[in-house]
């Protein structure tokens, strides 16, 4: 199956173009946009890990190493499309328009962190694994019924493919020919469980065969491959071509979450090698250098600007007024039924309010 689903690549780890068909589309503008967005979320991610270490936010889920997958795919989506992330996809949601502050609030245990910016169709992160594939299918199906050309993209990991909802999602989407992109980030591990214990199959893309839908496998650390191949799938979806399963092969450098210790289950030296050979951000830097697009000053300034933007968001997060207790009671239903109203009153009275 690996031959049937070869890993599509446009630019390799050395920053060299390996798929000449795309060369003319690898413009400086696109390259710099991808680089900027990837650097931005990498800096965000590192900040997240640090804030957790300092006790300024709760458990944080890092995605470093997966920036190309998240940025390339999110950039392939359009205004009005839907995004259904997991807990590890704030790189994608930030790229698609979520605000830095909101994302920090999420990791601070704030419901505000689940609210999309006005007009953005970003669902809150799915925590129960694979459940979101069905939501994405339903929302895209709704677009189809309304007769729009909008699509959904839904993120999930290699581990998620084992859940029943993965299967049901792909099946519903295929039967009703729904415009949804099933974007799998195969980072090789579900917490500690490596892919070969998760499935016997050697690729995730091949799972498309059971549903008679398109399946492709791409180098998830190649932002160009991710961007262009996702875009193709989205175009197909918009034109009534139905769902696509995309396997983006990638790697998380860090721990599963800040509570996880990867040394328990894998040799972290693998990560060190990957940082040097397949890193998505470094790859773009190399590509730009190869193509004479690289400008050291620009890069430095960019990093400074992005760092400042992130610090500003941290500030905003930390200056946010405390969580409002009403938020716990008042949004279970449109209006509080008496049990909730009574419980709220008793609670407030107990606090002396």
């Amino acid at each position: 199956m690996e031959e049937r689903f070869p890993m599509l690549q446009i630019v390799n780890g050395n920053g060299e173009v390996v798929d000449e068909a795309y060369r003319s589309e690898l413009t400086e503008e696109l390259t710099k946009e991808l680089y900027t967005k990837m650097l931005r979320i990498r800096l965000f991610d590192r900040k997240g890990v640090n804030l957790q270490r300092q006790g300024r936010i709760g458990t944080y889920v890092p995605f470093e190493g997966q920036e190309a997958s998240q940025v390339g795919s999110a950039m392939a989506m359009g205004e009005g499309d839907w995004m259904f992330p997991t807990y590890r996809d704030h790189g994608a949601t930030l790229t698609f328009g979520h605000s830095l502050k909101t994302m920090f609030l999420y990791w601070k245990g704030r419901h505000e962190g689940c609210l999309p910016p006005e007009g953005k169709k970003i669902f809150p992160p799915a925590v129960p694994i694979a459940s979101q594939l069905l939501h994405a299918t339903g929302a895209a199906w709704a677009e189809k019924m309304k007769g729009t050309d909008r699509a959904s993209i839904v993120y999930f990991g290699d581990g998620a493919t084992s859940e029943g909802d993965f299967h049901e999602g792909l099946n519903f989407a295929s039967v009703f020919n729904v415009p949804v992109i099933f974007f799998n980030q195969n980072n090789g591990f579900a917490i500690s469980v490596p892919m070969h214990k998760q499935m016997k199959a050697k690729t995730i893309a091949q799972k498309a065969l059971g549903y008679d839908i398109e399946g492709i496998r791409i180098d998830g650390n190649d932002a160009f491959a991710v961007y262009f191949h996702t875009k193709k799938a989205v175009e197909r979806a918009r034109n009534g071509g139905g769902p696509t399963l995309i396997e983006a092969v990638t790697w998380r450098y860090g721990a599963h979450t800040t509570s996880d210790d990867p040394s328990k289950y894998r040799d972290q030296s693998e990560t060190e090698i990957r940082r040097k050979t397949t890193d998505p951000v470094l790859r773009l830097e190399r590509f730009m250098k190869n193509e004479n697009m690289w400008d050291e000053k620009w890069a430095k300034q960019l990093e400074e600007e992005l760092t400042a933007e992130i610090e500003e968001a941290v500030n905003e997060m930390e200056n946010e007024p405390d969580a409002n207790i009403n938020d716990m009671f008042d949004y279970v239903f449109e209006s509080n039924p008496w049990p909730i109203e009574e419980q709220k009153e008793a609670f407030m009275a107990g606090r002396g309010e």
Partner: protein, 331 residues
Amino acid sequence: MTTAIGTKKMTLVQAVTDGLRTMMKEHDDVIVLGEDVGKNGGVFRATDGLYDEFGEARVIDTPLAESGIIGTSIGLAINGFRPVAEIQFFGFIYPAFNQIMTHATRIRSRTLGAFTVPMVIRAPYGAGVRAPEIHSDSVEALFTQMPGIKVVVPSNPYDAKGLLIASIEDPDPVLFLEPMRHYRSSKMDVPEGKYTVEIGKGARRKEGEDVTVIAYGAMMDVAVKAAEKAEKQGISVDLIDLRTLYPLDKDLIAESVQKTGRVVIVHEAPSTGGLGDTIISLINDTSFLYMRAPIERVTGFDTPVPMFSLENDYLPNEKRVFDAIQKVIRF
């Protein structure tokens, strides 16, 4: 609110169909989906005729996957539709449990109202029709304890239609349970067109002084018969049909209980953890000083619903309810 003109004699299942049709006619965003709901009109014919009338885009035969049905319904609901999902039998809702428990019921509160899930889950429930195994569950208490979903159970055709319309109009998830053994047991005048029965309000089916009997759904008939028997023996029964199980009609229950001081609760779900426990707890909260006897529960047992050769023994019957009435009276 009623725009109804005439009335029509209908069974409970016909009233369900009529409720669906009424709302589908008025609102393009109301769609029906589930297993066999389309061409076949549902295994109980609850969606009979809707496929022909509204077409396969709005009356949708889905693949056989309950999590898929509820999960995609959530996606449809957050994006402008009001799905009415049928679960073929209540005992087959379990594969969808995760979607209901972690998503349908939580999306509004997680997102402080940015996303909402106006959906109805319909399911026939209960024993007494000699159905095969696992077709007879009565597990409403799994859902009355679940934050974020209302639970409604009509006991007659009028309520079935009015409550179903109210459920579809409700901006939040509603679990709508249909007593399958009363699907066709009798007919009743049901208004044509649109009307609602308010969610959260029970109904007093009989006014009495000596004892409050509380039941709902398929157990109403049993309760009515036991109450009639009790009346013949000079025991006057205040008979309450809950109609909504979450939120309960606290005021109606309190008012009745404070009058009689004696209560019998009837449900076919298992005893431990059944709605009876919650009602007793509510009465403890509202009416402690009024109680003249321990509350009696007449329920199913802490056993799975047995295969049908034993289901009549499992189900509460007139005699068991009557005995309980006598017991609280004689206490």
